[in-house]
Symmetry: C2
């Protein structure tokens, strides 16, 4: 079985290769970027499975995934990520990814998942996909009301108050009020800092 691993962190590449080699019967190649991976596929196809790190130069969200799926000889492509949200995992599976592997799973499960995907199945860990949006899990989110969370979401999309108001069917003054309360709660001096704080907290 031939597997191609693309991750910009050599430490992670080395780790994945070692786990797969040790499991036996798997021949692993590596690449450090999407470009490199695509070049390898063109040159050295076919691979049974390609694993792409979500946070890697050239990925551009899911663009790198679809690009990798569309070249060469019909290889199956899975996403692997430490930070990606359930939303991203679902979108990846939606566009036809072979699977989604969070880095929070044990190495043994990863190896099993690779074998599973290589047989043509679609893989995603149940506990990850069914995890609720867990307001309690995040110290920041716990303090905020429903509306304030929606404000924060709008902020992390770079929207203006007016746009946020429109998308929620409320008036702009209302948005401003929620914003003010939000800033106070999370200790932000302005919307840009609020957006950065939200991102650093792993929200959205």
């Amino acid at each position: 079985m031939r597997v191609l691993i693309a991750d910009d962190h050599e430490l992670m590449r080395d780790a994945l290769v070692m786990f797969l080699q040790n499991a036996g019967g798997i021949d692993a190649s590596t690449a450090g970027s999407v470009d490199e991976a695509c070049a390898l596929i063109e040159k050295d196809a076919p691979f049974d499975l390609v694993m792409l790190d979500f946070n890697m130069p050239g990925m551009n969200g899911l663009a790198g995934l679809t690009r990798t799926m569309n070249i060469g000889g019909g290889q199956r492509v899975a996403l692997i990520s430490g930070e990606a949200t359930r939303d991203i995992a679902e979108r990846a599976l939606g566009v036809g990814a072979a699977g989604f592997i969070p880095k929070s799973i044990p190495a043994k499960s990863m190896v099993n998942a690779v074998r599973f995907m290589a047989t043509g199945e679609q893989y995603a860990p149940v506990e990850f996909m069914t995890a609720s949006d867990a307001p309690s899990s995040n110290p920041l989110a716990a303090k905020l009301s429903r509306r304030e969370m929606q404000m924060l979401k709008g902020l992390t999309e770079g929207k203006t108050n007016k746009e946020i108001a429109r998308s929620l069917n409320i008036q702009e003054p209302t948005v401003k009020l929620h914003m003010k309360n939000l800033y106070r709660k999370i200790g932000a001096a302005n919307r840009t800092r609020a957006a950065l704080i939200a991102r650093e907290a792993g929200l959205f």
Copy 2:
């Protein structure tokens, strides 16, 4: 030699443990958060070296690092990270970390670094620490002038135009002009989006 590895990704924990065990002479324990790591240190000290993932629940920037250094029996603590900047690495070493290990290094180098640090030395990979702010390495940064990069830096700190002007000893209108050009170059509609784009590109 006893090493404690703290990372919220089980896949990474498994990998580090395996590499260290295989190298021989190293006894590795693991934790999934800063709290867990501290509890283990209190209970099961002494460790020769503690390795903390920078992006982990409870780290709070470098707060988790200093906390881990200050408890228990004088263990040495190193930072490990895939995304951290040189600036962060320098600050970590500045407050007395045993070393900084980027995930972009090979597994073999990681093992050598661990042995090195356990002997009391301070470790940081030369190529990482001497890398210039690398305008060429980042597709985004390559397009920007020196001033525009400074604008972007100010943005990612949530500063106002006035604050940025003061810190660079230029006038506010000048900052606005650079901002306008910056937005055009990176395709941002406003400062918040610009800040988010910069962060996503791994800048600052």
